[in-house]
Amino acid sequence: MIPLSWYLLLSAALFCVGLYGVLARRNAIAILMGVELMLNAVNINLIAFWRYLTPDRSVGLVWATFVLTVAAAEAAVGLALIISVYRSRDSVIAEELDTLKN
């Protein structure tokens, strides 16, 4: 018997670790990895609430599946952008990509 709050705490911790990765890493690919961790934390939340509150309906599973789909699309487009930027600027360090600054 696991209380719902344990899953919520795990999800919150995973989300904040991902948040730290997004804010603190220099490499754009590492930032994308942090985003993936945050999306996983959201999905744990969705599935936990589905199982604990509405296991007889499919809305939680459906929503988690959509999050998975959007995460896949986001990873594909994000990595394509990173490779394109690397080709033109020879760098994937986020703070060196400052063409729009000033």
Partner: protein
Amino acid sequence: MSQQIIFFILAAITLTSAVVVVTIRNLFHAALALMVSFLGVAGVYVLLEAPFLGMAQLLVYIGAISILIIFAIMMTRRLMQTNESPFNAQAVGALIGAGLALAILFIVIIRFYPMAPGDGFGQSAMVVDPATLQSSVARMGRSFVSAEAYVLPFEVASVLLLAALVGSIVIAWPHRGEEDNQ
């Protein structure tokens, strides 16, 4: 009781490898730790009796997204050999911000949800007929294609995937004249 032990093992695997992902210097090792973290999350899905989501997690995250990330790391590898710090100038502020967010979330969750197993709200999973859980994947599949439920979001999601994949191919395509020096 055994469920709780499994939960703690899965949570420890997931969180430890997630911390490794955001702190380790070598980006390739970070990608491998990310795969371990995804595996732990897939285990949590199975523990929550959503085996379809666990399998989809294995296929999509570990099978596809991780490999995509590793490809991107290898294509940009020349710059990964440097001994610079993996963190930017705002790393300390990021640590404080993420820590504050974590503290607020923990306080709210502990305040509003009971922590001990029992019979009240949120203390144990809603008891349902095992057949209901076994047929949850079938019900999800039907609701994806039924006009009263999610057929429109489902089709929009497939168009989104198609557009994203075509778009990423276009974005990553070498520009004219760049092929020579690649």
